[in-house]
Symmetry: D2
Subunit: 215 residues, 4 copies
């Protein structure tokens, strides 16, 4: 039976992916923050002791609280360096993805269009996107596909916290609504279910036509 590990699998986009994968008979470990806290490398290493291989890996984690650049402390930077970058790096250095498997990275549209509010997230998610791109070429040799999904505004608890007036915000979006986590869940499921392998080394904006950059 195909196995999957979904980080941040207990809520938001991670939960939607877990649920979608379960619906096609995949043996999903939906890891919550209790199972693995990517901001704590010891927690990451402990997790890896019990989870050292999988067919499908979904790298997904919440983002930092918005903070103006001038007020971000050294501790803040280091915390999110772990959470958004070094935790994932440690996982990829130590986990075996089985041949023919998949790695999905749930990043953010801010890696292409960074903003002041999410400056920490913009920086470290972009850093990891570089790692992921480089590794996609190595994983390709084992028929493992690496897919970076960069969501725009999605209807999660976090978006509800970040945006003051969600209803007003939705009116400003091309589709007049937030994306639903289930759309991303189903997208991930669909790729796996259809054994689409040649989609790899790619960053996929998932933002309802909201971004302005040509690519």
């Amino acid at each position: 039976m195909t196995s999957a590990i979904v980080l941040g699998g207990s809520r938001g986009i991670g939960k939607a992916i877990s649920d979608a994968l379960k619906s096609i008979e995949i043996d999903v470990f939906a890891a919550s923050k209790k199972d693995i806290d990517t901001s704590d490398l010891n927690s990451v290493r402990k997790f890896l002791e019990n989870h050292n291989q999988t067919d499908i890996l979904v790298l997904n984690t919440g983002g930092p609280v918005p903070k103006p650049f001038a007020t971000i402390t050294e501790d803040d930077w280091k915390l999110y360096h772990n959470q958004l970058f070094l935790g994932f790096v440690t996982i990829l250095q130590n986990i075996k993805i089985n041949d023919g498997g998949y790695i999905f990275l749930i990043s953010s549209s801010v890696i292409k269009e960074p903003n002041a509010k999410l400056i920490i997230s913009s920086a470290y998610r972009a850093a990891f996107a570089e790692i992921f791109k480089v590794l996609s070429k190595e994983y390709a040799q084992k028929n493992i596909s690496c897919i970076n999904i960069a969501p725009g505004p999605i209807n999660t608890d976090r978006t509800q916290e970040l945006i003051e007036n969600v209803q007003e915000f939705e009116k400003s979006l091309p589709m007049k609504r937030l994306g639903e986590p289930q759309e991303i869940g189903n997208f991930v499921k669909a790729i796996i279910e259809n054994k689409i392998k040649y989609l790899s080394g790619v960053t996929i904006n998932f933002d309802g036509a909201n971004s302005n950059y040509i690519f």
Copy 2:
């Protein structure tokens, strides 16, 4: 019943998309060059008389014969300006995509990483990608998703013609193989089947980790 028009639907990627959509009970019109020749605007206009609306539209057409820049004539430019750009523009100006529909553009990885051999294709496909991006925001208001798929080396007759020694070429690719048209066909099918709508205004490299640009 959901309807689809697939241009260049009789061979290669277009045929794979047609076949995949037929498998989920979509009423597909797989247009061949006899039905519509996008390099001939009269042919395009005639086609539109009989095909003036659809739920799903797949904009897909073959590329030009490779020619060194210095030898490309005014007639060549104008022919492929029609085939790769103005034909598609004319279609979008005159066809009604039903609310909640999809438009897929099959472009090419050369729009991001152009090359001398495919310079005509690089130019006009990039031009149309700009149109498609701009329009994605308008179509979003009617819940129509616009998805630009940019294939890398795919196992089609055309690739067999373009590449001298395909077997040797495959060894140079990260996945050690060309992509299969069916992977793109299934990808398109999967998006529609799963009613994924928030994926819009996006260019998706479909190249088996072959491209080098970070995004």
Copy 3:
């Protein structure tokens, strides 16, 4: 004496480049629309009869009147296909750039962040940017540098026409002002004056920090 041909050299950015180059003793031919109309290939060919070589070439031309996509006619497309693309192509196919020379393309920030108002310009300028990128590698062999400058909002007659309330618009810009044509003129001059050659195959946003895309 070093020679330069500046298209659209009688006004706006083109004039500013001409003036800057004249200030460093370059023999500048500042071509006006009377000398060469890039929307008319016969005019282009005639110009090339008398101007078939140069040390420095500045490809620069005005953009189209803004028109909504639905109302753009076949004639419009073909006119601007000539003006923004095929005219430049014809020039590069027929002019000799002397070894160690420069080609500057004045494009637009809309090639990276297209918009509905300037959709024609977005498309054809992007198309030519692809040609220019490909050719930069060939020109490099003769030590000719190809530099694509992509201006954002610059204080020209055209901007004054395009923007309804310029003063209000300026307040929305990061620098609270339009760019001055002289800044681009001096930039071009400075590169030549300092014999900077390794800057080639590059697209340089010139937009006062206005664009949002990371690169």
Copy 4:
């Protein structure tokens, strides 16, 4: 008198920039690793005690030794996180750039086209590029221009170390040579000398037409 601080100013590109700025009567502090070691935040903070304002700041630092991903240790990541990212962040959080000033970031072409050999550099330089882009909009309000120069293969000691057979490598480059540090030095000088301010929020490939990505 205009003042400048150039990090890594004692060798390679940093030295070339220092020398170029000195040639136009700028009061340059060419900081060597003895003055400030960006990999050591205490060293950074100490430096800032004595250098808390400037007109021109050049953020420049050497890159890591190439190491395969699998062998990079937690300590390596943290060291280069400081050197390539957090050191620069700390500087920008604590130094005053005088109104009308300039900040230059010397990054690398690997931020757009990452590679396995320079994976650490690709990641952290990309991360800082995001910070720099976001801040360019804030600095713009004080007429401070932020310019990210992304060099390709430049003729420095480091390149000589990284590349096994430099002569052979040069033949593979479009210009058949490495770039010279002086070209970047003169470029920086030229921008300042000509008071070009509207060039901001931009990443400028400086790679002799070597990159393949369209922008």
